[in-house]
Symmetry: C2
Subunit: 202 residues, 2 copies
DNA sequence: GGCAAGATTGAGCGATCACTCAATTGTGGT
DNA sequence: ACCACAATTGAGTGATCGCTCAATCTTGCC
């Protein structure tokens, strides 16, 4: 190397993720990006190829971060089903801890870039499918452990859970009252826990 | 009158609604609008004031249309609770009938225009609150008719239902398989119907 | 038929968009 | 100390953005 990059690529990607997450793709201009990353256009394009390229890196980072946190909480949970219920409540808590980050970036992107062609939107939807597959695997684990009846369909339950999570995060955008949000998350989480074998304690 | 407007304002607003609904606010340019409405810039601004003004008219129209359809289906339903469950399934059917319209425009707008200031986003969130109030009134009606236990909290159930509907419509964007979508809507609808008094037939 | 009023027209406004590249700067190797 | 090279810089690219307004056209009325 003849000249070290003065910027921290990891930090820059974090800031880009935060920016795109809160503003969306179209509402974020290169001027915004220059200011947030403290980089000039030339450097941005040398490092990330294009606005679209930077966005997709930010999206991938968001996906990976979310999955890491989920895996951590799953490992710490009392049972698979508890982890899934906890995941619903967790979305409300991060929103209340830090008012900045709004609804799920994958859901936002899937809606904003709804065009069938268009790489970024398709990627967001692909990530959402991977999340659903992860949920399905955890439901399958819960079934194998006897936490769910044998008749339970993991894929089906995963879709149901994902729809609830996305609905919750959209709801986070229009409602700010902590009590209402926690109550909603609890109600949704209770529906997940109600799938348990009757009379079976986890 | 000295010269009749050659365009049909109602038709133009319909087309604008359809356009903004599918593309969102930022991704829709005036060129798109000119083409969709078959109007020139001057006429558009004379009739609708601005792009923002047109969008808000389209949003209001969307809200009114949705509520009209909801009221119609409520009037035709066997019971209030059945109407709310039916409303979930209905979202899937309109999506399958006509592949063009994607997720709920109010939810999309609430996410895309998430900025606290900004009239259009705030209006979308206000409409969502009105929808929730409508749901709450129907839940209250169901309770009054003995379809729900006296302990049921209409506002709370309304938030729960709205979150599920929004989650379902976001899900419509990433999944196309009719069977999976119908199953998901049925699962969500069944959760609503399960609120009924045990052993009480509506 | 001619006129006044209302509505449409579309070229073009300044601003901003995403993006480029010749010039400059900083660094490690010798 | 100096050089070769990687990386940054930022003025400036053409395109497109939302929008305006003087000119034009169409209608109803007399």
């Amino acid at each position: 190397m003849t000249r070290a990059a003065p910027y921290d690529r990891d930090l820059a990607l974090d800031r880009a993720m935060q920016l795109f997450w809160s503003q969306g793709y179209h509402a974020t201009s290169l001027k915004d990006i220059e200011a947030a990353l403290d980089m000039r256009p030339g450097s941005i394009y040398a490092a990330f190829k294009s606005k679209d390229g930077l966005f997709r890196l930010a999206l991938a980072r968001y996906y990976r971060r979310m999955m890491e946190v989920f895996d951590d909480r799953l490992a710490a949970a009392e049972s698979p089903l508890e982890a899934l219920a906890d995941w619903l409540r967790f979305h409300v808590e991060i929103r209340l801890d830090d008012p900045a980050p709004p609804a799920c970036m994958l859901a936002k992107t899937s809606l904003e870039l709804a065009d069938i062609d268009g790489e970024a939107g398709a990627e967001a939807r692909a990530y959402l499918r991977e999340v659903a597959e992860r949920f399905a695997a955890v439901f399958a684990l819960a079934r194998a452990r006897g936490e769910l009846p044998d008749s339970a369909d993991p894929e089906r339950l995963a879709r149901l859970l994902q729809a609830k999570i996305m609905g919750l995060t959209v709801f986070l955008q229009r409602e700010a009252d902590p009590q209402a949000l926690r109550q909603l998350a609890d109600d949704l989480a209770d529906e997940v826990l109600a799938l348990r074998h009757p009379g079976k304690a986890a």
